[in-house]
Assembly symmetry: C2
């Protein structure tokens, strides 16, 4: 990867925060409103898309069009816009729409920027209701929120038998995926559900050891990759390859527990 | 129930807030610390008890001893202290210790006070990290937090097929309990996991329709009963009787969905 000049780093970091700032306003404008109605996007699965989702992505795109007009954008709601710089912004205005329409504080705004090789360079996981933002990449690894500013650092290695594992749904993915997940879950000390993108932030914050999910889209995982890698962790697919195209994802605090989990996923 | 004078109401509400305030400080002092170690309280189940849990209950007991010296106290960590007033404070310093040691923002401090008949008169569900407090009873039904002060009001009736259901663990309780839960879950639009006491707050805030759990202790459910009843909802056991002794609990936004869920639980 080519070296990125400091002024470009600063511009990318500033643009990411500016995009997350406007998404925070748009998502909070609808959060916990009693008249919020969710539409069903797919026939086979309940996946609500809200006005907040669309409004937040439009606002982020407007910010990036102004600050980074030559970059491409891939967003959950409005697809791909081409660019000429080789850089691509990847946006998920509300990751965890089911958590959002239920009023929980574990959905998030995901903003990241990928280099010419497609790998995330910098990412933000923002939780607007808490006012908490996890940032990673380009030399940054920090969270700002109710406890102030803190450095992000993944946990040191511990055996899987003492580890905490998160996923969003107990069903995970296909029945085979669920079986693979269950092998890891049975070996872990504690399994928790329902945290959406917040689970990846907890890996980066050194609070938990593993997140295992299936059926992800690229915009679900780009920002978590940047934040977790910056904190010293790893995010791959279940075979140890790149996770940036989504699908089946294994996020780990360190290489030791990543290996232990991957062996059970593929047993 | 006898009429409660206004000055006693005000004193009880003030004491509850004072107790929750000190618990907030104690629980946050340990939250997300990397050196936090959890002990295993029971052999058959992972149920960590932290120093924060104990410190928070001690602090609340000290506040109540000063402000309400004649009331009894029942706390998760230090058991029962007798009183002479007929009123009993019920305290859970950290409800959701597994969520707490994982760094999530859905654990809570539960503070409530029960009358001579044992039913909760007033309760608080406090989330210290978010800085959010749900209060209900004695004429109060409100949340204060990131969006300011808002009135709590449960949702109007909607069919179970359009409803959102929460529980903490997919296993729920015994295999028979889990089977009963699954009947409701299959009929609901959306089932979410892992929210601990925050799920009850979301019923009171009009965001979700149902919470179903099993194996609860009295200190897990007293404050949620007060908050949800104040917001217009119901909390009973799975047979429709009082839930204040814990066990199997059904919290509902309104009588219609309560009846629909109870029929399936007992089918």
């Amino acid at each position: 990867m080519t070296v990125i000049p400091d002024d470009l780093k600063a511009a990318l970091i500033a643009a990411a925060h500016a995009a997350a700032d406007v998404a925070r306003v748009e998502t909070l404008a609808y959060f916990r409103r009693s008249d919020l109605e969710a539409a069903t996007k797919e026939d086979h699965r309940f996946d609500p898309v809200t006005e907040a989702d669309r409004a937040a992505e439009r606002a982020m795109r407007a910010v990036l069009a102004r600050l980074r007009p030559e970059d491409a954008i891939l967003g959950e709601e409005y697809g791909r816009s081409e660019g000429t710089s080789g850089l691509t912004w990847v946006l998920d205005p509300i990751d965890g729409t089911r958590g959002y329409i239920s009023g929980t504080p574990v959905w998030g705004v995901l903003v990241s920027v990928a280099g010419p090789d497609g790998h995330p360079l910098f990412g933000l996981i923002d939780q607007p209701y808490i006012g908490e933002r996890f940032a990673g990449g380009l030399g940054v690894a920090e969270v700002t929120g109710p406890l102030g500013r803190q450095t992000l650092a993944c946990r040191a290695a511990r055996p899987l038998s003492g580890a905490t594992l998160f996923t969003t749904f107990p069903e995970v993915g296909t029945p085979a995926d669920a079986g693979a997940f269950a092998r890891v879950s049975r070996a872990a000390r504690l399994t928790r559900y329902g945290a959406d993108c917040y689970a990846y932030a907890l890996v980066a914050a050194g609070q938990i050891d593993l997140v295992i999910e299936a059926g992800l889209q690229p915009y679900d995982i780009h920002a978590p990759i940047a934040v977790i890698e910056a904190a010293g962790g790893l995010v791959t697919d279940w075979q140890g390859g790149p996770a940036r195209d989504g699908g089946r994802v294994l996020a780990a605090a360190n290489a030791a527990i990543h290996g232990e989990a991957m062996a059970l996923l593929n047993a």
